[in-house]
């Protein structure tokens, strides 16, 4: 297991079920002793649920839930608490980390697309995702090149936005995922209108694609 550095990263790893043994115990201790960390842990779970399911879960009072859980636990017949032993570990099914690269809308952040966006004077915004600390946000001033507009045959315009933001996540690959049901709806509408299906295999592609539209 990769050694995680910041406390928030540790909490994120905990929420994703990535921690084992001593590290697991250490982070549990930390989370239990800090209200703020417990709130963070809770937030990560909510973020993860939303990213995985794409549905807003009604998330009311967590303390109410806890008290109900405690009541139920008290009502359960007492059984010897078995510590998860090392043999059982490999059998545990690892929950999907919420930020794993699955088919979701990605906030474009690659170096190449950055160049394209910078040339047009794009204003785009990052900062979605559970670990803002891992994102390096950097502002960059770049003269607007008219080449793209010239190619499209439209008159070059004075770009209203001159400060594209660079969003680099982790190792530089675009990884910021956005799960937006409304965007999914529009993508579906686009596909219905023949998007990606002008190619003879386009319909198959759309029907097969495990994209957000479902």
């Amino acid at each position: 297991m990769k050694h995680t550095t910041t406390v928030h990263e540790q909490v994120s790893a905990l929420a994703d079920g990535h921690l084992r043994e001593e590290e697991f115990a250490r982070v549990i201790d930390k989370v239990c002793s800090s209200d703020e960390l417990r709130a963070t842990w809770h937030a990560y779970h909510v973020v993860g649920d939303v990213l995985r399911s794409g549905v807003h879960t009604a998330c009311s009072d967590s303390s109410q839930f806890l008290s109900r859980l405690q009541q139920r636990l008290a009502a359960e017949p007492s059984a010897p608490v078995l510590a998860p032993n090392a043999v059982a570990m490999p059998v545990l099914r690892r929950a999907e980390a919420a930020n794993e690269p699955v088919f979701r809308w990605k906030l474009v952040a690659g170096a190449a697309s950055l160049a394209a966006a910078a040339a047009i004077g794009w204003n785009w915004v990052g900062g979605i995702g559970p670990r803002p600390a891992a994102q390096l946000v950097q502002q960059q001033q770049q003269p607007v090149s008219g080449s793209v507009l010239a190619a499209s045959g439209s008159t070059p315009q004075t770009a209203s936005v001159m400060t594209p933001m660079r969003v680099v996540v982790g190792n530089g690959n675009p990884q910021v995922m956005l799960r937006d049901p409304r965007l999914d709806q529009l993508l579906e509408a686009h596909q219905q209108a023949g998007g990606a299906s002008q190619m003879p295999s386009g319909f198959l592609r759309n029907a097969t694609f495990d994209g957000p539209a479902r």
Binding site: V108, A117, A151, S152, A189, H190
Partner: protein, 355 residues
């Protein structure tokens, strides 16, 4: 072999017909452009040197005339794989297709010509819709001088084998930066597209789809597919709410057309308010250059729903959102298309309120 005689006999007839057609197309093409011969792949030399429209006609004809069963796989840069089991059958003018996804939540899609039914067993919902633009392409069959040739060039780049079939590899190269390129694996004898890559301006593959396994001229029973398609018992049927309109009626126009992209249709869509929000209408204005499609969705701006302008990528599909300010109120544009971001930007720059 369990293939019954009548089907294999019919398959042979179709095959002969397809070959004759291909020959005719080759003959037609060679006379006016002898220089195109130089582009034929040296190895084998049997790959016909066709124009982009002729290649596309051949590929479309194959998928309209052949029956097949196979496993289809789609992958996008940086993501994992989607796969599906495909059944495709042609009987005269009737085309039936069944797509059973093998990855992710279960979903079966059936198509009878332009009528599409998507079964979602988890939610017990069937989406029923007409796809009017699905058959756009055959319109080109009567017009070999179609404008597609002005924006894409075709070139045979080699031979390959996909799913056990010999294929010609054809590169469709864009002539400007407003569209992506494609590399197409076209089955040698039928022309069927067995693999497709979408290629960006830096020559990177941003999306690809292919048959990992294919049985051409498989005995698929049209009646069985039709029956499955109509078995909606226990499902809630949802029909998509579409209303034809015109951009002029909705008060929108393009200041300058985007090279190669022609308006195809325009709809008014009722968009379901996802989280109990107000239900509004969205205009969808659709453009196509013959291969790529762009949809412009325009709706009134709502600060709560649409907080940020973003550019998003999903394989070869890009999405750009932008707030358009106007005297009579602000609007929210969502441009979606299998085109480079700069093309979506050009659309966004060009879209204006017209009254």
């Amino acid at each position: 072999m369990t293939v019954s005689m009548p089907i294999s006999a019919r398959g042979a007839v179709i095959l002969v017909a397809a070959l004759c057609m291909a020959q005719a197309v080759v003959a037609q093409n060679r006379a006016p452009s002898p220089s195109a011969k130089g582009l034929i792949s040296a190895s084998g030399g049997e790959a016909p040197a066709l124009s982009v429209v002729e290649w596309l006609q051949r590929m479309h004809a194959a998928s309209r005339q052949r029956s097949y069963v196979g496993t289809f796989v789609v992958s996008v840069a940086g993501g994992n794989l989607s796969s599906a089991r495909i059944w495709h059958v042609c009987e005269g003018d009737l085309q039936l297709e069944r797509v059973e996804v093998l990855s992710g939540p279960p979903r079966s899609t059936f198509r009878r010509n332009d009528h599409v039914m998507t079964f979602l067993p988890e939610t017990k919902v069937v989406k029923s819709e007409k796809r009017e633009n699905l058959e756009t392409f055959p319109n080109l069959l009567g017009a070999p001088d179609s404008a597609i040739g002005n924006y894409y060039g075709a070139r045979v780049v080699g031979k390959d084998r996909v799913a056990g079939f010999d294929a010609d590899v054809v590169q469709l190269e864009p002539r400007d930066g407003l569209r992506f390129g494609y590399r197409v694996w076209s089955e040698r004898r039928s022309g069927l597209v067995v693999k497709l890559q979408t290629i960006d301006g830096d020559n990177r593959v941003i999306e690809q789809s292919a048959f990992s396994e294919l049985q051409l001229d498989a005995p698929v029973k049209a009646q069985a597919l039709a029956q499955m398609m109509s078995s909606t018992a226990g499902y809630k049927v949802e029909k998509s709410e579409l209303q034809r309109t015109t951009p002029a009626k909705e008060g929108w126009s393009l200041r300058t057309p985007i090279a190669g992209f022609n308006p195809v249709s325009c709809y008014k869509r009722a968009m379901g308010g996802a989280a109990g929000g107000s239900q509004g209408h969205t205009m969808q204005w659709i453009f196509s250059d013959g291969l790529a499609t762009v949809s412009l969705f325009v709706e009134p701006y709502d600060a709560q729903r649409q907080p940020r302008e973003v550019l998003l990528a999903l394989g070869a599909t890009y999405t750009l959102t932008r707030r358009l300010t106007d005297k009579d109120g602000d609007w929210w544009l969502t441009a979606v298309g299998e085109v480079p971001p700069q093309t979506l930007d050009a659309f966004a720059q060009s879209l204006v309120r017209a009254r």
